[in-house]
């Protein structure tokens, strides 16, 4: 939006020359400054990735309303526990540390809180406080070992990963608890609007509030049904943390220690204390996340939170925080968590094959981090290359359906031929092939079906494959005249695809052409941004 606006402003016919010189058309300059400010924020790469991801899911999951508020709220609800773990992780990583134990600690806290509440007769509130106190104690231990005794954070918390998982299993016998007390719902699935709705339905709402009851009831299915405490707590937590980070010594010193520990010590910062505090906070977050998780889970069990440490670290890094410390932001982490959950949710809705989901998840994470690298690079050439690479990826997505038919036909025929050859080789020696080896032998009909499918898909596969390959080459050449050629090629492919009845790939190709056109305005935009500085 802002780019088109500033484009209009630079066009020479827009205003008399002197007017432009005096005030480089205020609106445009303002927009440009906003763009520059946006991209200099650490979280902008992650935000861009989240928005792109959301739009592509919306476009490519036909008839399944992704942007439905109740679905978005579900994503927030399910992001809450991981989001809070990742918030703690952000602080530790900002000090140039790492905490690999968060998943195990989250599992142990969940299991023990559920255990004392179910079997020791602890009051639910008391058991929650117990869990959080235990989390803080674990953090104190980790932090002391790292800061006081100088042990590497990676090793201390790797040991923690193993110890706390084992402790959780051992102390609860790895058994699930019965269903937990309703108090836990207030940290999870409780909907703040549901009492209002119930009162409205039972006609017990005071008159002056009946308008609210009617409103809640009418918006229930579409909007409010999945508005739950998880979401409320997640966002409140981040808001409070962001305020703390920018207004307290802890926030300031965490960055200072991460970017230059020696210098911070010389400047009189109590480095040990603040490092310990960062680990305590991180473990506190893991324990608090366990409570949030219990609010939505069927029971408490010690195998919760497996591999969460990796998801949390990924979210922090996607959010623009440097693994070497000193640079990053809390809001980026929240966006990173949302991106991870968005990918899960979107791929489930898209009903993509399980193994493809794994591959696509990895590719999206790479793209998200790539966006951030390009953003930091501040080089127009890199931006152009990124746009062309994205166009190449889009052509590849168009290639996947026909391409996989051609490739699988080729694989099936190769397997069949090799099995036949093996049989012929073994038969004179009276030997048996290994079990399961004969599975790859196909009937002539199956072979024919594959061959037919491959033949039908050969032309589109070659077309989109060549297009993708051409775009990849163009990433390295990136000469303007060649990009015009590439755009034309995409246009031709679009027409051919429509003629062949492959309407589903049209959005990919159109989007790719838009991106390629975008490469033309990158340089003018950068020049303009520079002139404003």
């Amino acid at each position: 939006m802002s780019s088109s606006q500033s484009n209009n402003d630079v066009s020479p016919s827009a205003a008399p020359a002197n007017a432009r010189a005096a005030a480089p058309s205020d609106a445009g300059a303002k927009a440009m400054r906003w763009v520059v400010r946006f991209f200099s924020a650490e979280w902008s790469g992650a935000l861009l990735a989240v928005v792109l991801m959301a739009i592509s899911i919306e476009v490519f999951t036909a008839g399944k309303p992704f942007f439905h508020p109740s679905n978005l709220l579900t994503i927030f609800n399910n992001a809450a526990a991981l989001g809070i773990v990742a918030a703690g992780m952000t602080l530790v990583i900002l000090t140039a540390g790492i905490d690999l134990s968060v998943g195990s600690l989250m599992g142990m806290s969940a299991a023990l809180v559920g255990y004392v509440a179910s079997y020791w007769g602890f009051d639910p509130v008391l058991s929650i406080l117990f869990g959080i106190a235990m989390g803080c104690a674990v953090g104190l231990l980790h932090g002391s070992l790292v800061a006081q005794f100088g042990m590497p954070a990676f090793i201390v918390t790797l040991a923690g990963l193993s110890i706390w998982r084992g402790t959780g299993h051992l102390s609860t016998g790895a058994q699930a608890t019965p269903k937990l007390d309703d108090v836990f719902n207030y940290f999870g699935r409780f909907n703040p609007f549901s009492p209002i709705r119930q009162a409205y339905k039972a006609d017990t709402l005071p008159d002056w509030l009946s308008w609210l009851g009617a409103l809640v009831d009418s918006q229930w299915l579409d909007w409010l049904r999945t508005f739950q405490m998880s979401t409320v707590i997640l966002f409140s937590f981040y808001i409070v943390l962001a305020i703390l980070m920018s207004n307290t010594k802890l926030g300031l010193y965490v960055y200072a220690i991460g970017s230059n520990e020696k210098g911070s010590r010389q400047a009189g910062i109590n480095v040990k204390l603040y490092k310990i505090l960062a680990y305590v906070f991180c473990s506190f977050c893991a324990a608090f996340a366990a409570i949030l998780f219990l609010g939505r889970a069927p029971y408490a069990k010690s195998d919760y939170g497996m591999m969460w440490e990796l998801d949390a670290i990924a979210a922090v890094v996607i959010g623009g925080t440097s693994l070497f410390g000193g640079r990053g932001s809390i809001w980026g982490t929240l966006l990173g968590v949302l991106l991870l959950k968005l990918i899960n949710n979107g791929l489930t809705l898209a009903q993509l094959n399980t193994f493809w989901q794994m591959i696509v998840t990895g590719l999206i994470i790479l793209i998200a981090v790539g966006l951030d690298i390009v953003r930091q690079n501040k080089n127009p050439l890199r931006v152009r290359q990124m746009l062309i690479a994205a166009a190449a990826a889009l052509a590849f997505f168009a290639f996947v359906t026909p391409g996989s038919k051609v490739v699988s036909s080729w694989i099936v025929h190769t397997e069949h031929k090799a099995t036949v050859a093996l049989q012929e080789e073994l038969a004179p020696q009276f030997k048996q092939p290994a079990p399961k080896q004969m599975q790859r032998l196909q009937t002539p009909e199956t072979l024919q079906t594959y061959a037919d499918a491959a033949q039908d898909s050969a032309l589109p596969a070659m077309l989109f494959g060549a297009l993708s390959l051409g775009a990849v080459i163009m990433v390295f050449l990136a000469a303007p005249i060649l990009i015009y050629g590439l755009m034309a090629a995409y246009g031709v492919a679009l027409v051919l695809a429509l003629a062949l009845g492959l309407g589903t790939v049209a959005p990919f190709l159109v989007l790719a052409m838009v991106l390629l056109a975008g490469t033309m305005v990158v340089d003018p935009l950068f020049r303009r941004a520079a002139s404003l500085r």
């Binding site: 999951t61 399944k64 439905h68 609800n77 058994q175 069927p298 029971y299 959950k341 399980t354 989901q357």
Partner: protein
């Protein structure tokens, strides 16, 4: 030494039966934390204590599905000279070489729950996942109308158990419900994935009538998802697999409508019994089927009595 022999003789007299030859059996399980596996492991422990002369060495992998650590444990046990091994292979084909090696060295190997492909075993003690899942699919189809939308929560599709349960479900379900759309929620035996996936799919498809699960951890995750979205028991039908205790409780509350139980404790029990018999040089059947039990609200009391719930 003499004293010890006397003590043994006295003990044997006291027990009133001839003392069985004492054997050391290595039991390699797939998981120590999964509810279903804990029932199998419990059955194995019971077999050892009932027999009285079995020294059971139970070892599990570092995490569920870790083939390399399972192979390591297997070779350690063979090297320690156990009399027989009962193993629940993480991967049917992956353990074949190790199993063939142990058998060649004279150590009997009994496969529990999951078979071994590519090597013979002394005995294979299990319910047939494919057959039970086919029953699950048929029963599930009977709970809805042909054409109703349903969700299927898978197990790990990179493991044979997960593949067989999925294939069996589809085979049974599509016999009479071929017009129904099946929306898939993929998991790696992780109830959190089941919960999040079911929430996502239900949000976008409010016309889903039933959630069928490849294991009862998924059933409990799906139940939590329904509760999170404000559904009540029975709004969306749940079908489970395993007959785990918490799923049976959920059935009594009206959430779960059918559950194909494998006789899990029996599987562990028979597996260790077969291994002990083989170690003592007795004949053991090559395939011991531990059967299945279809738990429905009508039969749940009978099932609970059977497993001692």
């Amino acid at each position: 030494m003499k004293k010890f022999a006397t003590a043994v003789a006295v003990l044997a007299l006291m027990s009133g039966t001839a003392m069985a030859q004492s054997v050391k059996i290595g039991y390699i399980t797939k998981s120590a934390t999964n509810a279903g596996w804990m029932m199998i492991n419990g059955g194995a422990a019971d077999a050892a204590s009932d027999d009285g002369a079995i020294e059971l060495v139970t070892v599990g992998p570092a995490f569920q599905g870790d083939l390399s650590s399972q192979l390591e444990v297997f070779e350690n046990l063979v090297a320690q000279g156990v009399d027989a091994i009962a193993i629940a292979p993480v991967d049917s084909a992956g353990v074949a070489d190790a199993v063939a090696g142990a058998l060649a060295a004279g150590t009997p190997v009994v496969a529990v729950d999951t078979g071994v492909v590519g090597a013979d075993v002394t005995s294979f003690v299990a319910t047939d996942n494919l057959a039970v899942a086919t029953i699950q699919g048929e029963v599930a189809c009977g709970l809805v109308n042909n054409g109703d939308k349903v969700i299927y929560v898978t197990g790990n599709q990179a493991q044979s158990t997960g593949q067989e349960r999925r294939d069996g479900f589809y085979a049974g379900f599509e016999k009479a419900c071929g017009d129904s759309e099946v929306l898939v929620v993929p998991t790696e035996w992780n109830s959190q994935q089941a919960q999040e996936g079911v929430e996502a799919v239900l949000n976008a498809n409010s016309d889903v009538k039933m959630v069928v699960n490849a294991w009862d951890g998924g059933t409990m995750g799906a139940k939590a998802a329904l509760e999170n979205l404000g559904y009540s028991a029975g709004d969306v039908k749940l079908v489970g697999f395993d007959g785990a205790g918490d799923a049976i409780v959920a059935m009594d509350e009206g959430w779960v409508h059918a559950d194909t139980a494998q006789m899990l404790a029996k599987m562990g029990y028979e597996g260790i019994k077969a291994a002990a018999a083989a170690a003592r040089g007795q004949m053991v059947e090559g395939r011991i089927d531990t059967g299945t039990f279809l738990v429905t609200p009508e039969t749940s009391a009978e099932y609970k009595a059977l497993i001692g719930m």
